[in-house]
Symmetry: C2
Subunit: 478 residues, 2 copies
């Protein structure tokens, strides 16, 4: 397109306006577009390809650990949603209601699923009869709807794509183990595939999922110091199972109620990738999920043999890597900017001189470092450099988090940090929801989580001075 050059130059700098920088990238890297329904987005091919790569990797993990995919209905009858009291209180205010089928008013209105605990329980009631039927380890990939007031692409939309796992177990311990195992799968995925360091922890009662006994979370720090809840895993105990009257014959031939979990990650992860790794030239994509891992750009492509050689190199790489080539008549400079905007981890430049010397140039997206590589060892070097890019991205993100993690020993300190800095604030907490509410009021921070890796900063609550029960990470969140 004639105006592509302009597009590339158009991004707001992240230091000037982080929010605008974010929406610029989302639009200009063609990840998504706005639709005619307020708050609902169109995930465009490049954005969807990222999601497909995420799905592919996570789905393999879920299957490796014994989970099976299913498809539950899109709709939940109002009476079903109401079966678990805490759950309905949490979700009813933000669901979309179907009231008509064709021209007929429905006898009972149906909500579009905001999450599917109630549907899974309704099904589990039919299929769980004996301890031999347990565990049930189900997952589904679908979209859900929550009628949010304020929306932002990928981060908070009225409809979003996600996966939701719902499992049932014989014992509480098995369910707790599942909840933790999944949290670790999420955390490892974020760190090893998305190059996004996360803090693993537990939510406080006021931040946990509606109806859950405990919510575990992974919290990632974005470039601007705000926190992103990147995935959650919930332990339900037998609340829902009791409300839905799910019972099985146990090993002693007695009726018993099973224990339940649910867990999910969503297209929110794409927002997290953007805000963890992106820079003023655009997206920076982790190699594991980049739709294009290497883009081949011929230099002086009008010269004899250049395009042919570039294409030969592209074909070679395409056997092992997601590879693209751009032989359009745009200038190399335009192409460089374009694929930087798209966040392609490695750019391969090849021109007449390189061909003479049987080499090419590989340029890292994350820091623009150039490496001359012999074509004889191309595949090896690309493999290595993709790993190096991943590691570099992870280190940079970790550095950002470490630079922006603070400790506060008293309320005054905490308020000062919250006002003057951005990032995670570690502080001790007595466990009282009132203190949590007060910190939100006076410092504008919420509890992100109680990290599994606890530290003992002091004996007393940062807010009330009473004895502390745990260290909490406080912060502003997306």
């Amino acid at each position: 397109m004639a105006n592509n050059k302009k597009m590339v130059e158009d991004i707001t700098s992240m230091e000037v306006d982080f929010a605008k920088w974010y929406t610029d990238i989302v639009k200009k890297a063609e990840l998504c577009d706005y639709s005619s329904v307020k708050g609902c987005m169109i995930v465009r091919p490049y954005g969807y390809a990222i999601w497909e790569n995420i799905q592919h990797l996570l789905d393999a993990e879920f299957k490796r650990t014994g989970h099976q995919n299913v498809a539950m209905p899109l709709f939940i009858p109002e009476s079903l949603l109401q079966k678990e009291k805490d759950h309905v209180e949490g979700f009813a205010p933000e669901v979309a209601w179907v009231t008509y089928g064709g021209s007929e008013e429905l006898e009972e209105r149906l909500c579009v699923r905001p999450t599917s605990e109630t549907l899974f329980c309704d099904h589990y009631k039919n299929i769980i009869k004996s301890y031999r039927d347990l565990p049930k380890l189900y997952n589904q990939w679908c979209s859900v709807v929550r009628w949010e007031k304020t929306t932002r692409p990928f981060l908070r939309t009225r409809e979003f794509l996600w996966q939701e796992g719902h499992t049932m177990h014989e014992t509480a311990q098995e369910a707790i183990d599942e909840t933790e195992m999944i949290l670790n799968i999420y955390a490892d995925f974020c760190e090893k595939q998305l190059a996004m360091p996360v803090v693993r922890g537990k939510k406080t009662d006021s931040e946990k999922f509606s109806g859950a006994e405990a919510t575990y979370t992974i919290e990632a720090m974005m470039h601007d110091g705000k926190s992103l809840q990147a995935g959650t895993s919930h332990y339900f105990g037998d609340h829902f199972a009791k409300a839905f009257e799910i019972e099985f014959q146990n090993r002693e031939n007695k009726p018993q109620t099973p224990h339940q979990t649910s867990w999910g990650v969503s297209t929110r992860l794409i927002g997290g990738i953007i805000m963890t790794h992106g820079d003023d030239n655009g997206l920076v994509l982790p190699p594991a999920i980049a739709p294009i891992q290497v883009v081949v750009i011929p230099v002086a492509q009008h010269k004899e043999g250049v395009i042919e050689k570039a294409q030969e190199v592209k074909e070679r790489l395409a056997k092992q890597f997601r590879t693209d080539i751009d032989i359009s008549d745009n200038s190399p400079g335009w192409k460089f900017a374009q694929y930087e905007m798209k966040g392609v981890p490695l750019r391969l430049e090849i021109g007449p001189k390189d061909i003479e010397q049987n080499q090419c140039v590989l340029v890292r997206r994350d820091n623009r470092e150039k490496t001359f590589v012999s074509l004889d060892e191309l595949e090896t070097k690309v493999t290595e450099l993709l790993q190096v890019v991943h590691d570099g991205m992870y280190e940079k993100a970790l550095q950002n988090r470490e630079n922006r993690t603070w400790s506060a020993l008293n309320l005054e300190e905490l308020i000062q940090i919250a006002n003057e800095k951005s990032g995670f604030i570690k502080a001790m907490w007595c466990g009282d929801a009132e203190c949590e509410a007060k910190l939100k009021e006076v410092a504008g921070v919420s509890s992100r989580c109680m990290p599994f890796a606890q530290e003992h900063l002091s004996d007393t609550c940062v807010c009330c001075g009473k004895p502390a029960k745990s260290m909490v990470i406080w912060g502003k969140a997306y």
Copy 2:
């Protein structure tokens, strides 16, 4: 489970009650379950695994031919649905309407997408500016909702899973070529992967998609002689594009309206697989999409070394085939029946005598034929036999279709065949919708398609006797 044996024996014979046989299989092979929302089904793990295999194979074909996946919103504002007159007339009576978001009544009601032409057009209007932006070849995998009165699992449900391709092209010819190419992808998929022979043809005007210029279809014959529309591909001309004011600068720098297609297959295909191949012992699954291609059943497994050897064989096969093993303490006979119910294409039996002779027994699901196979050539034989099973299934289905395809030269003949036989009735047609309506009234058959492979049966319409324009296949349909 203690009552599994009973389950296996419980199927209604297909000759006694084909409809009941169908629902028995659907339930007992654990493909789906009913949900608390009338007409919406739960696709259970075994059914969903079939769908995943279908997705995997078709998605690769779509990508090979240059298509990209996207995700459009679930909702369509009423005003958007109304933009194309024929389309809204066709779909408005059967959509589900969202009227409330949380506790607030919406200013404009939203329908849950019954199909997404309007959403794609709304998006294409924003992103198609120049001939360089064309073609746009998009697809999405999602669910859609149509508020049907009468529903049957997989065949007609209020919500169903499908893929919908939506493409835009510079010229009418390109769009027509796309429509035909996709129909051929569908047909080849049905025949080569699902072992389901199909007739490729064009729908009559009264049977075409609401808003389409032409609808191409593949029609498969079920075991009972009824027709199943297994996939459709629509050519829209520039109807929608004009209604949505989509315009691009053409190669002569003049404004031009693009030409459009859409096409889809759905979980209906699973219904087709059941009714094409199933028998009184249960499902018979085509090897290409069977979640389990080979099941290993140890015989006399209490004897020393049997389970170990069976497991070794399973591990070997699992490297190349979707393989399962059943070492539960159910009897071999129970297991045989169980995996026949599940439609597993090959059963591998191995007992002490086999082990002594370094062999095993492979039993075909489609005809129960047994082959003794040396363990030295196991992988080769399994590969061969899976192909043989596929071919056998295809031939059997083709034979059924040929046995149930009739020709009628006049109305009396057609009515007699329709009353006495089941299957496809070939007959000439003048092209008049009145004759179509009359045949429905007097013979209870509808036009399935005008096959691409036309035959000249006579010069005159089977109904009115006026000059015939084309041969039509008439029949009863799911």
